[in-house]
């Protein structure tokens, strides 16, 4: 077992996927010699060559559009989008082309394309480097969306995503890239589409993914000192959502708070709240509440601490939910 950062775990995961299947190719801006701006692909071009790990011209629509063609030709492209705010030039290719190909061809054309995107804030970056675009993609039929929250998942989930024949937007919480954990590469991974209870509790379920899982775990630890026993659920897959696991948890705790960095309006939290109210209306003690980024553009970094959900804001809303 080795202590790996999330960035390194992703790197090892990509390496394992490339070792396993020589149709796996990595493409993106500055992913070759530089190893990507976050070094996730560090050393892979050196070891696998320029045919399998290549720097593209600077054009995101081009990256995803050509990945679609490569997939038709039997390759399994893994595209890196340098930052969340730069995926939008590729939006047409992702939403109108990539996501629909399987349905349009009645399953004749597979699209095993993974689009890796470092997402979320908290690193003091300039504009367009801290976005949380997951809802745009989770809203799109034909596309799957996953988010890892820790190095172990990062290692396995990226391999599972590459092995899937569906197109997947793979979200990496950039502010957690440097956090370490023991990664047992011989372990058996959980299914890619499953949510996971990462902390058992009885009073309320905190539902999170990506960067907010750690925030919620910290909040749960703090709440414990006040005698509150919070459960934390890591969604892992945002589309499809693993509702059986969500329902099982909330059925026990009877209260739920959804936490994400993205703005609340028409976001993941809204979808989860709607499904919970449809399914567990009579079993819940409180409405589903949300702790999210505000419905503003992501602010300049000197204000991001106030924009992002943190331990205090989570506990504040937990208090409200527990008062019902």
């Amino acid at each position: 077992m080795a202590q790996l950062t999330m960035a390194k775990a992703l790197n090892e995961g990509l390496r394992a996927a490339m070792d396993r299947d020589d149709k796996v190719v990595l493409m993106g801006e500055d992913i070759g010699r530089l190893g990507g701006v976050f070094r996730v692909t560090d050393g892979l071009q050196k070891d696998f060559g320029e045919e399998r790990v290549f720097d593209t011209p600077l054009a995101e629509s081009g990256i995803v559009g050509t990945a679609i063609g490569l997939a038709m030709r039997g390759y399994r492209p893994v595209c890196e989008i340098q930052f969340d705010g730069f995926v939008f030039p590729a939006y047409d290719q992702i939403v109108s082309q990539l996501a629909k190909m399987h349905a349009r061809s009645r399953g004749l054309v597979k699209m095993p394309v993974v689009i890796r995107i470092p997402f979320g804030g908290g690193i003091g970056a300039v504009e367009h480097h801290s976005e949380s675009p997951e809802a745009y993609f989770a809203h799109t039929p034909g596309l799957k969306v996953v988010a890892c929250s820790n190095p172990v998942d990062a290692y396995f989930m990226v391999q599972q995503a590459i092995a899937s024949d569906d197109p997947i937007v793979f979200l990496e919480p950039k502010r957690r890239y440097w956090e370490k954990a023991e990664v047992d590469t011989t372990g058996t991974p959980d299914p890619l589409w499953g949510a996971r209870v990462v902390r058992r509790g009885t009073d309320l379920t905190l539902i999170a993914y990506g960067p907010m899982v750690k925030t919620c775990l910290d909040a749960a630890s703090a709440a414990e000192e006040d005698g509150r026993d919070l459960e934390v659920l890591d969604l892992r897959s945002l589309s499809p959502l693993d509702f059986p696991t969500v329902f099982e948890s909330v059925r026990r705790t009877r209260r739920a708070v959804v936490v994400h960095e993205a703005s609340s309006s028409v976001g993941l939290g809204a979808e989860i709240a709607a499904r919970l109210s449809e399914q567990l209306y009579y079993e819940m003690e409180a409405p589903v509440l949300r702790v999210t980024g505000y419905n503003t553009p992501y602010p300049p970094s000197r204000m991001e601490e106030e924009f992002l959900p943190d331990l205090d804001r989570v506990l504040h809303v937990v208090d409200t939910a527990l008062r019902y």
Binding site: R33, L58, F88, V126, M303, E306
Partner: protein, 366 residues
């Protein structure tokens, strides 16, 4: 990237500071103007050096240095007439200087205090644009508006637009669409591409198999490659292109051949992808040195002049440092302001809840 010997490069000053002549482009400047070009180069570099130092000291989150590109920016920036409008990327600190945008506004972006900073209409200099080449389409639309207003034609009062972008940026779809639009609407616009040889770690050869200026021909307008380390040539070529635009002769693509002497940004480590010898070779073509040699050769400067320029640079650097350190953090509640022209009920509610929540902390608990 290896440049074919045959590629024509408009140059008015050799790297040694020798004044040379070009059949299509020339400038006739007063001694005072020559000196002020040099002064601008020095001041702009000093802004950059000071900002880089402030980033290293933790005062800025990041800084995108213009080191090496001073001549391309000061030359093109000074070619603008007051009525012209410039659309920058995130690196046009030298153009900002020429448009009299306070460098502290630029620093406020990189310090994380603001996402804008100045009034684009007032400065006739748009806000910085980080998403690569979006601004080239905005610039084209603005130029289309000039035509619709009938503000092209007159060589003195006609208006023109300049859109900046990089070699890496040249691959993006939007800029190619901007070329199409500008061409078919014969818009009064100059596309100014600073080919600094690199887009982060990606060399220009990954973006194009032909010299970038040649792309223009396929879109139906002229392209020209200028020595971007030669401030006089950059000025002359841009001025001619702007004048052509303002008199109704449509767009021009200028490729300013230059070099990013520093890292992509302060977060970048160029030793991972490029050879030190490349930088050494370009240092011999330094835009400041060549102008300095020229001034000496013309015998239009004395040591007092250089001392004065240095003193001005020191003063500017001190002002920038002080202004940066004293720059107040924004009040977080302002993030809710100006999201819309007309505040929405949801946002008003969030703003109020935000204020109450934070007042609770200020009062010592919640």
């Amino acid at each position: 990237m290896t440049v074919p010997e045959a590629t024509p490069l408009v140059q008015l000053l050799t790297p040694e500071g020798e004044r040379v002549h070009h059949p299509d482009y020339d400038v006739e400047l007063t001694d005072e103007e020559y000196r002020s070009f040099y002064r601008d180069l020095v001041l702009v570099r000093r802004i950059d050096v000071e900002a880089t130092a402030l980033q290293r000291q933790g005062e800025l989150g990041i800084w995108a240095a213009l080191l090496g590109q001073e001549a391309a920016q000061v030359g093109s920036g000074r070619a603008l007439r007051p009525q012209d409008f410039a659309f920058p990327t995130y690196r046009e600190h030298g153009v900002a200087w020429c448009r009299e945008v306070d460098p502290l506004h630029l620093l406020s972006l990189f310090r994380g205090v603001s996402n804008g900073g100045w009034d684009p209409q007032d400065k006739r200099f748009n806000l910085y644009t980080i998403v690569i080449v979006s601004q080239t389409l905005h610039a084209t639309g603005y130029a289309m508006g000039i035509t619709k207003d009938g503000a092209v034609g007159d060589p003195d009062t006609g208006e023109a637009v300049i859109a900046y972008f990089g070699d890496g940026a040249s691959s993006q779809g939007d800029v190619n669409e901007a070329f199409v639009w500008a061409s078919v609407y014969n818009s009064p616009i100059v596309f100014f591409c600073q080919n600094n040889q690199w887009g982060i770690s990606t060399p220009t050869a990954t973006q194009s198999r032909i010299p970038l200026y040649k792309r223009a021909e396929g879109f139906g307008f002229p392209g020209v490659r200028v020595d971007g380390n030669d401030v006089l040539a950059s000025y002359a070529v841009t001025r001619a292109a702007l004048d052509s635009a303002r008199t109704g002769q449509g767009p021009t693509l200028i490729e300013a051949f230059t070099y990013r002497m520093g890292a992509h940004t302060t977060s970048d480590d160029p030793t991972r992808y490029r050879l030190a010898s490349e930088l050494e070779a370009w240092k011999l073509k330094d835009p400041l040195e060549r102008m300095k040699s020229f001034l000496y050769k013309q015998q239009i400067v004395d040591s007092a002049f250089f001392e004065k320029v240095e003193a001005d640079a020191d003063e500017l650097a001190a002002r920038i440092r002080k202004g940066c350190l004293e720059m107040p953090d924004p009040d977080p509640v302002t993030m809710f302001d100006y999201v819309y022209d007309e505040m929405t009920p949801l946002l008003a509610e969030e703003r109020a809840a935000f204020a109450t929540y934070h007042a609770g902390f200020a009062g010592g608990g919640h």
